[in-house]
Subunit: 382 residues, 2 copies
C-alpha cells in the first residue's frame, strides 16, 4: 500500500483527477486543447483573484520561479527576501539574471519590513519573496511588502506555489506583479505544471529582456492570443486533463471554502502539536502567520528524525523532514490535497503512537485537540 | 470520438500507458520514484545505444534542446544546421547563448557535408543538428556530420526527438555528445518529458558554463548521484509512470523491432503516396533519407490544404499541415505511437477518398500499394 502523503507535495489526488489522465491523447493545437487551457486559465484567475494574464507552463514550480525572474530581470538589482529554502532558491535564480540585494534571516524567522524598505531605497527594480515558505511553515507578509514595493516602484514577484488555492491571495488588491502557483499543492493536481500571472507593469518591464527560450513569457502570450489558443511548445497533455478536473473540483467547492478547509486542517494539526507539548518551529512577528498548508515542528528530544519519520511511515503516513540548515531539526506535516478530517486524525494518531513508543508521554491528547478544532471550527469561523 | 492521431506527435498511446497514469501519487524523493527513474534511464540508454549519462527533464522537447545548448555554449561559436523548422529552433536557441554560424537550406533540401566542413574550419566548438526533421520528412546524416565534428573537435548536439526509438541511433558509435529524445514520439508516452544524453566530452565543456537554473544538467547529475536517485526539481510523476510503461513495452518489443516497425509503416505510406501519383516533399542527396516516422507530401493541385485536412479529419484521421515557410504547401502523415497496420491503411483510405471527392483520380491504388509493403516487408527485410 502507498503511504498517505502528508508532505508538502505531491499531495493525494482525487479519483476524478487520477482518472482524467487516462483519456486518449489529443492534438495540442486543436480547439479541444484550447478549451481545456482556457478553462484552466479562467478558473486560475478566480483563484488568484486577478485580472492579469495567466499562463500555464509544462514544468515544475521552479520553472515558474525562473520564468518570473528571467523575464523581468536583466542585470537589474533585485531585492531577494530569504527566510527559508525557497527564498534561497529565488536568490540563486536572481543571481543568474541580475544583482541580488539579499535580505536574509535564519530559517523560520519572520521578515522585518524595515529591512525591506532599507533595501528598496537603493533603487532595486524587483523584489522576490515566497508567500508560503514550506521549508519552515511560515506565511510571509506579501501585502505589506507589496505596499512598500509600490512606493519604490519595484515589481513584486511572489512564489505562491504552496499557498494559492489554500490561502487567500488577492493578487490585484495586493499589487503582486508576477505570482506563481504549483499544480501539485493546494490545487490538488499532479506535479508538472506551473501557473504564472503577469501584470501590466510586468509586461512593460519585459520588452527588452531575454529570458530562456523555454520560459519566455512573451511567447506564451503570443500563442495564447492565436486564433486557437495554444502553448508555444508541446504541453504535458495528461497533466492538463488532470489540472482541468482538479480546478473544476476547486470551483465546485469554492476557492474561499478551499482556503477555509486548509486553514481548519492546519489549525487542527497545530492544536494537536501544542497539546502534545511539542513546539512549532516558526518565530512569528505581528505581520507573519503560521502556514495553513504545512506545519513545521521542532524535533522533540528523545527521538531522532529517522526514528520519528520511519515510525510514522510504518504506520502508513509519510511526513517530511527538514531541509538544508534545519535538516534533522524539524519535521513537517502537509495538509494539502484530497484529504479529509480522517487523514488529519490518522496522521496525528500515528505521530502520537511513535512518540509514545519512544517514551514521550503524549498519547491521546493530540488527536483529541485536533478533533476539537475540526468540530468547533464552524462555530469559531461562521 | 477522438480522431486517430497521425500527426508527428502527440501520438496514440497504448491502454497500458494510459492506465499507468491513474496510479496514486508517490513521494518524488523516495526509493520508489528512484526505481522508476533508474529503470527509465536504463532502457533509454539501450535505445540511445549509449554508455553516456542520460537524464530526464520534466518539460517539452524544446526544453531538452535548450538544456543541450545552454549547458555547453557560453558566447562560443555554434554551427547551426538548418533545413527545417526544428533546425531553425536550434539556431534561435543557440543565438541566445552564443554566436551562430548558420548553414541554411530551403526547407526539405538535404544537408551538404562540404558546407558543414567549411563552417567547422572556422573553429566553432559546437554543431547543432536535427536528426529527423519532422517539418519536412527528412532524415539528416548525423553520422557524417559527427565524423566531421570529431575532426574539428566540435561537440555534436543532435535533436533526436522524433527519431530515437523509431530510427537507429548508435549515439556512441556516431560520437554524438548530446542527444535529445521526446517522450511523445517513437517512445509512445505522453508529452511532457524529454531525455538528454551527455558525453564525457560534453561534461568537460560544461564546467564553467551557466545554464538556466531549471535546465542545468550539472544539477540533474548531482541529484541522480544522490544516495536515493532524484531529480533536482519535482518531476511530473504521472508522466514518469507512463514513460516507464511505454519503455517497458519498447523493451518487450525490442528497439530494433520498433525501428523496423516504424520503417515498415513509413515505407507503406510512401509507397501509397507514390501509387497515388503524389509527390514526396524532401529532395534527397546521397547522404539523406526519407524520415521513417513522418512523411511529408507536396499538396496536390485541385485541392486546398484546408479541404484536404478537414476532409481527412471528417473521416476520423488527424494529419498535419506544413509549418512556417511550407504552410499550405505540404501535408504530413506521422506513423509513430501505438498504431497497427490497420491505422496505416485507414489513413491512406481516408486520404484517397478525400482526393477522389475532389476529382483526383487515385482511389484504391494507395491502399493497395501500402498493403503490398506491409505484406512483403518480412521478405524484403529479413
Amino acid at each position: 500500500m502507498n503511504p498517505l502523503l502528508m508532505i508538502p507535495g505531491p499531495v493525494p489526488l482525487h479519483q476524478r483527477v487520477l482518472s482524467a489522465m487516462s483519456k486518449p491523447m489529443i492534438n495540442h493545437r486543436s480547439k479541444e486543447f484550447a478549451g481545456i487551457y482556457e478553462e484552466c486559465v479562467s478558473i486560475l484567475k478566480d483563484v488568484f483573484r486577478t485580472k492579469n494574464d495567466v499562463f500555464i507552463i509544462s514544468g515544475s514550480g521552479t520553472a515558474g520561479m525562473e520564468a518570473a525572474v528571467s523575464n523581468v530581470v536583466d542585470g537589474d538589482d533585485v531585492v531577494t527576501i530569504v527566510n527559508g529554502k525557497f527564498g534561497e532558491r529565488f536568490k540563486d535564480i536572481a543571481e543568474l539574471y541580475g544583482n541580488t540585494i539579499p535580505i536574509e534571516y535564519q530559517w523560520g524567522n519572520s521578515i522585518e519590513l524595515d529591512d525591506v524598505e532599507v533595501a528598496l531605497e537603493g533603487g532595486a527594480k524587483v523584489v522576490t519573496m515566497v508567500h508560503n515558505e514550506t521549508s519552515t511553515g511560515i506565511l510571509n507578509p506579501v501585502k505589506e511588502v507589496a505596499t512598500l514595493a509600490r512606493k519604490y516602484e519595484a515589481l513584486v514577484i511572489m512564489d505562491g506555489i504552496t499557498s494559492i488555492g489554500g490561502v487567500d491571495v488577492p493578487i490585484d488588491e495586493w499589487g503582486v506583479d508576477i505570482a506563481i502557483a504549483g499544480s501539485q499543492k493546494c490545487i490538488a493536481a499532479p506535479p508538472g505544471l506551473v501557473a504564472v500571472s503577469v501584470s501590466e507593469r510586468a509586461w512593460e518591464r519585459m520588452e527588452d529582456k531575454r529570458a530562456p527560450y523555454y520560459l519566455d513569457l512573451k511567447e506564451y502570450q503570443k500563442y495564447a492570443n492565436k486564433e486557437v489558443t495554444q502553448t508555444p511548445y508541446t504541453p504535458a497533455i495528461p497533466l492538463f486533463f488532470a489540472l482541468q478536473e482538479a480546478l473544476r473540483m476547486l470551483k465546485e467547492e469554492g476557492t474561499q471554502e478551499s482556503i477555509k478547509r486548509h486553514r481548519r486542517y492546519a489549525e487542527a494539526v497545530r492544536n494537536a502539536i501544542r497539546a502534545m507539548k511539542l513546539e512549532l518551529f516558526p518565530r512569528l512577528n505581528d505581520i507573519s502567520e503560521y502556514s495553513n498548508t504545512v506545519t513545521a515542528v521542532n524535533m522533540p528530544e528523545g527521538i531522532t528524525d529517522k526514528q520519528l519519520r520511519d515510525g510514522v511511515k510504518e504506520k502508513g503516513v509519510l511526513i517530511a523532514g527538514g531541509q538544508g540548515q534545519v535538516a534533522g531539526k524539524i519535521f513537517r506535516i502537509g495538509n494539502m490535497g484530497a484529504i479529509s478530517e480522517k487523514e488529519i486524525l490518522f496522521t496525528i494518531r500515528a505521530l502520537e503512537s511513535v512518540l509514545a513508543e519512544h517514551g514521550l508521554k503524549t498519547k491521546g491528547m493530540g488527536a483529541t485537540a485536533a478533533e476539537q478544532i475540526l468540530k468547533s471550527w464552524s462555530y469559531l469561523h461562521p
